[in-house]
């Protein structure tokens, strides 16, 4: 009898049907709506938007539902979808100094113009399971105040005024586009930041953590972390000026790093930068640390051989859609390769036995 691989098509159809049933779960439990996911699992939605590189909370929520909560699978769905979308053009750079901040903190100054605004953070919660949530979901409304309207300038600008932090000269050069050109090394900072912004949160976190533990250590202060909405503006050629076409929620982190100076640079503070869709604090801080570590060359620092300093290593492995695809592809049939290995190992063993047998006979 010869079973092998016949019936693949039917098997795939049946697997898909079973998957759909499993996704739905027990039918005596109410089905999740897209709105519920969007509103109540918003940090998962944010991660999917950030790593999927597409700002659309409803689509991200749909992807999470379809992926049964597997966020990398959801990110994959969003990436595959965004590739098919036409491009109308590029927006102007967003002005994060005009962000309507829900949260804005600085770890370097006790207070600064714009103030310290904690916002909706887990930071000072005690991580105790709240069994009340299991019984009744409703919460009393939080206290309301007047929205702050005073400007919230970037903290780093104050250091810049004193000329004690490294300058980031403005440039009108169009940055390369990660999604439209093949990656080539050295990639340069715009591409690095694009890659980190969509990079896997866990990977970027691990890389950042490694710098804190001494692999290219560069102590980072969170100069500023801000979360809020910014206007997205686009130049319309027919009009001759920019109009607002929407708004996106962003998390921006700028670190202030110690720097004793190098052969080419005087002692000053240096910076790392993170910018991520949605409320994604962990990711934006991690991104800023890795960005700073990758800037060693530009600042004239030594290459310590640390993984986080290695642009080719970090950028080649940060994308979880590439990584998971390649990792999981080893589930696919490899019988042909394995067969050739099988024959090779059998042959090598035969040859080795043939070499040792005469000696044994002589003993």
């Amino acid at each position: 009898m010869y079973v092998a691989v016949k019936g693949g098509e039917k098997a795939i159809e049946n697997a898909h049907a079973w998957l759909a049933e499993e996704r739905r779960g027990a039918t005596d439990v109410a089905e999740l709506s897209i709105a519920q996911i969007r509103e109540q699992l918003s940090l998962a939605v944010n991660r999917v938007m950030a790593e999927g590189s597409l700002f659309d909370p409803d689509l991200a929520a749909l992807a999470i539902k379809q992926a049964r909560g597997d966020l990398i699978e959801a990110i994959f769905l969003i990436r595959a979808y965004r590739t098919t979308l036409p491009r109308f053009g590029y927006t102007n750079p967003v002005k994060t100094d005009r962000m309507a901040c829900d949260r804005r903190i600085s770890a370097t100054f006790k207070d600064a113009p714009g103030g310290q605004v904690l916002g909706p953070t887990f930071d000072y919660t005690h991580r105790l399971l709240d069994f009340k949530l299991a019984a009744e979901g409703e919460v009393p409304p939080s206290p309301k105040g007047q929205p702050r309207t005073d400007p919230v300038p970037h903290i780093a600008d104050f250091l810049k005024d004193e000329d004690i932090i490294q300058d980031e000269p403005a440039s009108d050069d169009a940055p390369a586009d990660l999604t439209r050109q093949p990656m080539e090394f050295p990639a340069g900072r715009p591409l690095r930041l694009q890659s980190l912004a969509r990079g896997d949160e866990g990977f970027v976190l691990g890389m950042a953590y490694s710098t804190q533990r001494g692999y290219a250590r560069n102590h980072a202060f969170v100069g500023e972390l801000r979360i809020g909405k910014v206007a997205v503006e686009m130049d319309i050629p027919e009009l001759g000026f920019a109009i607002e076409i929407g708004e996106v929620e962003l998390t921006e982190c700028e670190t202030v790093n110690q720097f004793k100076g190098s052969k080419t640079e005087p002692p000053q503070f240096t910076r790392g930068y993170g910018l991520v869709f949605g409320q994604s604090e962990r990711k934006s801080i991690a991104m800023a640390l890795v960005d700073r570590a990758l800037r060693w060359q530009e600042l004239g620092e030594d290459n310590l051989g640390a993984p986080a300093q290695d642009e080719e290593f970090v950028l080649s492995h940060a994308d979880n859609i590439q990584a998971t695809g390649f990792l999981e592809h080893i589930k696919l049939p490899h019988y042909v390769d394995f067969q050739s290995e099988l024959e090779l190992v059998r042959k090598l063993r035969r040859d080795a036995e043939a070499r040792t047998t005469p000696q044994e006979a002589a003993e």
């Binding site: 691989v5 016949k6 693949g8 090394f185 042909v336 090779l344």
Partner: protein
């Protein structure tokens, strides 16, 4: 899936891929970087081959998709379905009837003609990758034609194992210039790389396309005293009796009894239809 363009990709993307293919054909064996797109199947599952096929297919084409030589393996079924849905092209399992064949890990046994295109799915396009992990370095090595490291590796195989211990993805030299990874085909298939058909190699995740124009000289790397040897299981196919085809080994029972069958299912079926028989033919027909 009518909302998608013919063969899924938009025309601009196809144009970009076609330019890479033309460049690859002009410089045989050279890996051309291309802006690979995210496809609706995972990286590592044939996205490079799918993009090359999408850019190559016309509405009049007939497509065959094989994985491990077989038309009915799950991923081949999935990719064939993808093109049936997005391109509406005719599909076939018969090698001779196909104009475009997308393959993973095998070259069909039947001789291909100059009217056919063979598209390979490539996981790691860089033959030097496992000797030097950095792309920046390997590109330099190719441009300087610096392949000493590869020869040292083959030499070390011989000194340690008495033979070159590469059984698949066996490196080749193309037109006397570029060392190329033929994708993870068994080395049994290497001699077939010199053929009448166009061969295109797509690596989606690694963003590379390379090619072999028809009749390109392709030499499997070896030494004079240790010449290249294409190998296969030392059996005939138990279903069709073929002695010249690459065989899969199938475990049949708890006692570990094996049978050997053609990995190229179309080749095996065609032979059986013509009356060829193997050791276990009768059992199979029951």
């Amino acid at each position: 899936m009518n909302e998608y363009n013919f063969a899924y990709l938009d025309e601009q993307t196809k144009r970009m891929i076609r330019r890479a293919i033309l460049k690859a054909l002009a410089v045989p064996g050279y890996q051309v970087p291309f802006a690979s797109r995210e496809m609706p199947m995972p990286y590592g599952w044939g996205t490079g081959g799918v993009q090359v096929s999408a850019a190559t297919l016309t509405p009049d084409d007939t497509l065959k998709v094989i994985d491990q030589g077989a038309d009915d393996t799950t991923n081949a079924v999935s990719i064939r379905k993808f093109f049936e849905n997005t391109a509406g092209v005719a599909t076939t399992e018969e090698t001779a009837k196909a104009t475009v064949i997308q393959t993973r890990h095998r070259i069909p046994e039947a001789k291909l003609t100059e009217d056919q295109i063979l598209v390979y799915q490539v996981p790691i396009p860089e033959p030097l990758r496992f000797l030097e992990p950095r792309e920046t370095e390997t590109r330099k090595m190719h441009s300087l034609e610096e392949y000493g490291l590869m020869h040292v590796k083959l030499y070390e195989d011989i000194s340690q194992h008495g033979a070159i211990s590469t059984a698949y993805a066996y490196p080749v030299k193309v037109s006397g210039r570029y060392v190329m990874d033929p994708s993870p085909i068994p080395k049994f298939d290497n001699p077939k790389l010199e053929m009448d058909a166009i061969q295109l190699f797509g690596a989606g995740r690694e963003q590379r396309i390379y090619a072999l124009p028809p009749h390109t000289k392709v030499v499997s790397l070896d030494f004079e005293d240790y010449p290249f040897e294409p190998t296969k299981a030392d059996h005939a196919c138990d279903l069709c009796g073929a002695e010249d085809s690459y065989l899969d080994e199938v475990i049949m029972d708890d006692a570990g009894n094996r049978m050997f069958v053609c990995s190229d299912t179309d080749y095996c079926r065609t032979r059986r239809a013509r009356g060829s028989q193997g050791r276990l033919s009768k059992e199979d027909e029951i």
